[in-house]
Symmetry: C2
Subunit: 339 residues, 2 copies
C-alpha cells in the first residue's frame, strides 16, 4: 500500500509506492556508453581549462603545472559570470514588462577538479584527500564572502551521466549567486517557520528524533548523523547533518572537516556498493553569507541517488514518487560493510 | 553571455546559458536499449491489465475484448488508490510527530492506452484519434468530479525513457488526488497574486503579449496559442494555451477538443522532427475541481522536452539551466514543416 509522507521542512509530499519497483521495463537501465577522447581535467591537459584559481601542489610548483593534487578553475562554460554587472541585484527587473523580467547572470561558476585519477570515485578517495577537497570548498566560500558581491554559495557534485554529469573525471561545481534560489529559500523559510513555532532549529530536532528512533540512521559517529530522510524524494536519499548547530558551512573547523570527510566518504562508498549503476548528486546546503538564518538554519549535505527518473508526475505536481521506503534504504546501507 | 529570466507566474529564475551547449561530453546521449518482451498494452494482452474502466470499441463488443481503439485501465502499480480511506484528507497528519507526518495515498491512478499500435507516437496519430484521447481525459475528469472525493486531476504523458517512461506502448497517466500538489498550487497562487494586483488573468495577458511580440510563437490557430515560454525550464519547452479563458480543462467543449488535438498533434510532430532522440513529458495543468480559481487560473498544456538532465544545480536551487533561448527554439519549431 502506498503512503504519503510530508517533508518536515518544506510543504511537499512524497508518495512511497514500493509496488512500483515491480513494474515491467521496456528499456534497459544501463548507463549510456562512454565516449573516448582527451580529458580536459587530466594531468598534462592544464591548458584545456582556464588558468587555475587555486591548487594543491608541491611548494615552488608554478600555477597550471601538471604536478597538482587538486585544482579549482573557472568553468569554461559558465552559467554565471563575474564579468557581468554585479551592482544590479539579480532580483531587479531589467526588461520593460512585468511578465518578461531578466537579470544578468552575475556570479561565479568554478570547477573543483578533485583528483589526478580520471576514474576515481569519491568513495575511493582517502579520508585525507576528501578532507582537502571539502576544505577547498570552505576556502572558496570564505573568499566569496570576503568579496561581498555574492549572497549565496551553491556547492555540488554530479556523479554519473544519469545525474547530469557530462565529464567523467571527478569534479565538483562551486557557484556563487547574487540571490538565494528557490529550493534553498523554501527550506530556509520552512526552518524559520518551525523556529517561530517551536523555538528550536528543525534540523537539531530532526537529528535528535532520528537518533532516538534509529530506524532511518545509516551511521552516527564523529559528530555527524547520517540518515535517510523520512520523506526521501528518491530511493536511498541520504543526509549528513552535523550534530553541532551551525547555519553556515564555511564556519566549519578543521577537525569537523576531517570528520565530515570520513562520514561522507563512507556513506558514498556504501551507496557505490549498494546501487549499481550508481549515479548521484550531492549538495552542500548552507545559509546565505549575510543572512540572519543562524538560529534556525543548519547546514548539511543532501545526497540524491538518481535511481529513478523524474517523470510527468513530478513535473506536474512537484511531489515525488519513491519506490523505496527510507527505513528499507537505511537498513540496506547499514548492512553494507563500510570501507 | 548568460541571462537570468524570471518566470512570470511563480518565483523561479531560469539561467539561459547557450555556451553550455558547446561543452564536451564523455557520455553518448543515445537512448537506453529497448528490451524485448510481451507488451501488456498490445491488443490481445487485455488480461495483463486490470479490467477496463472505459474503452472505445465497436458496439456490442464486450469489455476487455481485443477490438478496442483505446482503453482506460486502473494502473496495476498505482501510486494512488481509491481503496484507502478517503474520508481522511491528505493534508491531515496521521503520525504522532509533527516531523513525521503521513497520509494515506488516496486517489485514482489510471492508464489511458492511447493506441493499438505499439510504436505510434502522438505526432503520428490522426487528429481525430488524438481528439478522442483528449475527450476521454475530459470524461474521466468529469467522472472524478462527480465522485466528490477528489480535489485535483493530474494528467500527463511520459514519452521516451529519458522522460521516465517505463513502457514503450503509447499511453497517458491520469491521476486524481485529494489535494492540489506543490507545483500546481504555486502556479495557482502566483496567478491569484497577479490577478489581485492587475485585475486580469496572467495567462490571458501572457497570450496577448506573446501574440503581439511574435518571437516566441510556434503557431496561433484555431483558438490556441502555441509558444515557447519566456523562462522555459528546458530547451524547447512549449505551452499550448487556449485563447478563451477557462480554469478547468473538463469544461472544454467538443469543438475546442478537436482544435486542441490538431494543435497538440502538430506541435508534437514538430518536436519529433526537430529533436532526435525526442523524449518529453506533457502535462494538462488544470484548476482543482472545487476551487474558486475560475477568474485567475487558466488551464493549458505544458510540453517539457527532456533534452538536458536535471543535475545538482537544479536539485540545490530549484532554478534551471537552459542552453537554448526560447526565441531560438520557437524559430526552429516554426521552421519545421508541420504535417
Amino acid at each position: 500500500m502506498a503512503e504519503l509522507r510530508k517533508d518536515p521542512i518544506v510543504d511537499r509530499w512524497v508518495v512511497f509506492a514500493p509496488d512500483r519497483a515491480k513494474r515491467p521495463l521496456d528499456y534497459s537501465d544501463a548507463p549510456p556508453a562512454r565516449r573516448d577522447g582527451p580529458c580536459p581535467f587530466c594531468p598534462g591537459a592544464e591548458s584545456a581549462t582556464p588558468g587555475e584559481i587555486f591548487a594543491l601542489r608541491p611548494e615552488g610548483s608554478p600555477a597550471d603545472a601538471p604536478d597538482w593534487r587538486l585544482r579549482v578553475v573557472p568553468n569554461k562554460f559558465p552559467a554565471f559570470s563575474a564579468a557581468v554587472d554585479s551592482d544590479r541585484p539579480g532580483s531587479e527587473p531589467l526588461a520593460a514588462s512585468e511578465l518578461f523580467q531578466t537579470a544578468p547572470a552575475a556570479g561565479a561558476h568554478e570547477l573543483l577538479i578533485e583528483s589526478r585519477d580520471h576514474d576515481a570515485t569519491t568513495g575511493q578517495f582517502s579520508d585525507e584527500h576528501l578532507a582537502a577537497i571539502l576544505d577547498v570548498c570552505r576556502q572558496r566560500m570564505l573568499a566569496w564572502r570576503e568579496e561581498r558581491r555574492w549572497r549565496q554559495a551553491i556547492l555540488f557534485k554530479n556523479f554519473g551521466p544519469q545525474a547530469g554529469a557530462t565529464l567523467h573525471h571527478p569534479h565538483m561545481q562551486l557557484a556563487a549567486l547574487p540571490q538565494t534560489p528557490k529550493t534553498l529559500a523554501e527550506q530556509i523559510a520552512g526552518a524559520a517557520k518551525y523556529f517561530q513555532r517551536r523555538g528550536r532549529c528543525v534540523f537539531c530536532e530532526l537529528v535528535e528524533q532520528e537518533r532516538s528512533l534509529g530506524e532511518r540512521i545509516v551511521s552516527n559517529d564523529d559528530g555527524f548523523v547520517v540518515f535517510c530522510p523520512f520523506a526521501s524524494r528518491t530511493a536511498y536519499e541520504t543526509w549528513i547533518v552535523p550534530e553541532r548547530h551551525s547555519a553556515n558551512f564555511e564556519q566549519i573547523d578543521s577537525a569537523a572537516v576531517a570528520a565530515l570527510a570520513r562520514q561522507l566518504r563512507r556513506t558514498l562508498a556504501r551507496l557505490e556498493q549498494t546501487l549499481d549503476p550508481v549515479a548521484y548528486n550531492y549538495l552542500i546546503q548552507t545559509a546565505p553569507f549575510d543572512s540572519n538564518a543562524s538560529d534556525h538554519y543548519h547546514w548539511h549535505i543532501e545526497i540524491i541517488p538518481r535511481t529513478t527518473k523524474l517523470a510527468g508526475f513530478e513535473w506536474a505536481s512537484g511531489w515525488y514518487v519513491n519506490p523505496t521506503l527510507s527505513e528499507t534504504a537505511a537498513e540496506r546501507l547499514r548492512a553494507t560493510e563500510s570501507r
